[in-house]
């Protein structure tokens, strides 16, 4: 996977998380995964299609998702209800849109799908023939892993 695709996502994730959550955001070590991997409980997926194709997943535990949604709403949410889901979906949308705007400025042309949200225990993601790069971000509300798998269109 080309590094030009990754940096905009890392920067956008850092910028947006800092802006919407406040507090200190720490970026962990990046790592590559090419096999199936477990997801933590709440995953927002955004598809990309155009000059490049792939997807970005924002993965977090239900506890972190609740804390993040509460912080973004400025109130303590009690259950992972429609508002909490819309909030996490919007977070994925904000980060992906800012990354795509940067990639667009660099000359790459592609569109986004609206985010789809998955929740549940013991979920696993399998991508065939595409490596995923994981960018862990530590926030005061918990860990968010940005999982990017993009390849040039064949």
């Amino acid at each position: 996977m080309r590094v030009e695709y990754i940096n905009p996502f890392v920067e956008a994730a850092y910028n947006i998380l800092t802006e919407v959550l406040g507090g200190e955001i720490k970026r962990g070590e990046l790592y590559l995964k090419s096999t199936s991997m477990p997801v933590m409980g709440v995953a927002a997926l955004v598809g990309l299609a155009g000059d490049v194709e792939g997807r970005v997943i924002f993965d977090m535990s239900l506890d972190s998702a609740m804390k993040i949604a509460s912080q973004m709403n400025g109130e303590q949410l009690q259950t992972f209800d429609d508002l909490a889901k819309a909030t996490i979906t919007e977070l994925a949308n904000l980060i992906t849109a800012q990354a795509v705007t940067k990639l667009h400025d660099l000359g790459f042309r592609f569109d986004l799908t609206p985010p789809a949200l998955f929740t549940g225990d013991n979920m696993e993601i399998s991508d065939h023939e595409v490596e995923a790069l994981i960018v862990p971000m530590e926030t005061d509300q918990g860990k968010v892993e940005v999982n990017v798998a993009i390849r040039d269109r064949m």
């Binding site: 802006e19 709403n73 508002l83 819309a86 949308n93 904000l94 849109a97 795509v100 667009h104 609206p114």
Partner: protein, 145 residues
Amino acid sequence: MISKQDFPAINERPPEGLKADGTPYRVLVVDDSMFVAKQIGQILTSEGYEIVTTATDGLDGVEKYKELCPNIDLVTMDITMPKMDGITALEQIMAFDKNAKIVMISALGKEELVKKALLLGAKNYIVKPLDRKKVLERISTVLGK
């Protein structure tokens, strides 16, 4: 007893969301995200604006505008939405009422998209994440305050 005179306002100003006659500006919010619609609503109502109604897709937005016109002073329009996107809805509302005041609100800040929206008649373009001050400033400029 504490009276208002005990707390003199240094810079007393009327809320931005009110017209000269004291009635609120009426706003139609078009956004498919419950979170974003709530956020826009909170920012605007805190300054006295009235959210008349919310539409959850472009088509619903066009229909509600036609139904409520001329009793709508401003529309906030998302871009990526189901059924009809915000750019098409902008075009249709402008064709119906060339004086419509529409402000685009999107996470996408691609230059050509911003240009396209402004050329089609949008009065301003706000890139998310939303900042209270930025939203209020832009909207008050659009309303010529």
